[in-house]
Symmetry: C2
Subunit: 384 residues, 2 copies
Amino acid sequence: MNTMHQTLTVALDERSYPIHIGCGLLGRAELWRPHLNPKMGAVVITNTTVAPLYLDKVLATLAELGCPAFSVVLPDGEEYKSWETLNTVFDALLENRCERGTTLIALGGGVIGDLVGFAAACYQRGAPFIQVPTTLLSQVDSSVGGKTAINHPLGKNMIGAFYQPKLVLADLDTLDTLPPREMAAGMSEVIKYGLIRDPAFFSWLEQQAAGLMHRDKALLAQAVYQSCAHKAEVVARDEREAGERALLNLGHTFGHAIETGMGYGSWLHGEAVAAGTVMAALLSEQLGWLDQAAIERIKALFRRVGLPVDGPWLAATPLATAQRYLELMRHDKKVSAGILRLVLLQGIGQAVVSADANDAAILQAVQAGLAVAPSVLSVPPTQI
Amino acid sequence: MNTMHQTLTVALDERSYPIHIGCGLLGRAELWRPHLNPKMGAVVITNTTVAPLYLDKVLATLAELGCPAFSVVLPDGEEYKSWETLNTVFDALLENRCERGTTLIALGGGVIGDLVGFAAACYQRGAPFIQVPTTLLSQVDSSVGGKTAINHPLGKNMIGAFYQPKLVLADLDTLDTLPPREMAAGMSEVIKYGLIRDPAFFSWLEQQAAGLMHRDKALLAQAVYQSCAHKAEVVARDEREAGERALLNLGHTFGHAIETGMGYGSWLHGEAVAAGTVMAALLSEQLGWLDQAAIERIKALFRRVGLPVDGPWLAATPLATAQRYLELMRHDKKVSAGILRLVLLQGIGQAVVSADANDAAILQAVQAGLAVAPSVLSVPPTQI
């Protein structure tokens, strides 16, 4: 099992790159070699949680390859996906005289990957970078496709770039140390692929949920591979989200409102996406596109992997809360000419981008998707 | 004369864009129309010097086109090409709920163009932008080609992106209000094109220097057109500076050392490039590539347009100064695997990128290119 290793390619002409998925990949020097230039060196950028677990292993591999390297260890958490943290990265790169050929290696979850990718996009107008995702969420979603960004107090991922890595190395062994809550958050994006374009995968996830949450490596390998295959296919066809790629944002506009409204770091991204996906499903139901049975299947699967299905209150009443959601959603990047474009469902496995929902319908869906009591206002979501 | 209008194209496939050069262009709504989406609106970003002169004219044109717009007025100066100023732009965009389809219009010189271009590159992962350069330097160089950036205390243009505008509108009438010192600084980049690839243009500039500095519009139109034609041709062949485009950096590595060493805003970019170009010429002479007569022609032309030809001292002795230059030059983006790659001259009109010069040769060239007395340490360069 430990030699399990699959490879996918994100096909983007001269910017194509491989995704390696398997066990023990951090130490597989031959996978790193083609994507590093030992003359130029590398910097491993990680956080205080991941550094004690995997930094030495990565540095040992770089040493084996004769690639000089140093590391930058950032604080851990969505609240550090900020302007200030990005600047500390630039300071470190310049103080260490990194050149534009120095490879930036993002070792961590989605926050590290997004921030380091954006740092690489901007450093001397573009340095090479490698994604080494160590969470399920980053392995199945954020490390692939070149979306990089930092947050702004007025909106998530508002400052960023489309900038592709040279290599994605998803070592499934790093999931061994992932807290249960983050494991669940990652499943949110796995389930997303089933919901938007693969009903058979959704059914398979319903069958294998327990085994996946017990971190059966063979099952995880299948789930990560299938998710990355979907992502790679969509990104290759629509790198800059002119069309189809927007489907990958199912639940994200509602979810970003939750994340921003609750303050970064309170709800995990995957948790917010789960509750947001339920709201998108309820809105789809209002439009007559989705039946009650599908809604129940979606909620049941989220619940089985330990994800919240009810959104938090952001104000004293459900209506005021819904109005706050709508206000926050209007800041979303998918807004065009003032019109909210949402990803909705016409069935399990069939997502569409739609501007059909008016404000009244959105307010109603948010209220229908809220927790019954306001007590969740300041309480973290259910954990498994 | 006032209807004089020429157009060039920067040929980059689907990212191609026109450069309009002429008089009265700010008010020519038909030139703007194809590149704006009135539904999405626009924001004009300028500085405190340019705003009172040209902001109303641009806003009037946008109003004529039915394009809602607001403006952001930044402080003027290279020292504001910073992280902090960039953040104030993002704050304004988000507070005004700008979408990713909002067009950012850079109205000003090189600092505004570089900073606004980088803001556009990053805002919601890429918003459209238009360059309206109002200085000679930005009309002939920085507004064309998509190099955008901000400075870092440890190096100029260290944080940035390659990001092309949708349109460059070089209105020669805006040069009427340009201070003489900035006019001279712009000539530095005009002369550069002659030096690196067009000996006939260099000779023409020698003949027309007086008329250009008196701002004869027909001569300026020729100089700006010829400069933009060179830039557009080079950029179309090598957008991301993998090769030929590096030649456009003649004098810039030495020049950046002057700008950084003296503190941003003390020497103008064009002034530093002039003194830096003389150092590059002296180094070329040491290598036996350039004769004394060519050096004298270069210096004479710089002097005739009011540019400094001697570099400032950055330390108490010429040797210590040269060592400081070298240290600053090592931070340059053109450094690769620790080797300084410099643009040198094998004749007037013939530049090459070279790693042939060792540290000793560079130290010697810097010292040969310094002002005779240390008094210039804190004195601005000669003005016309």
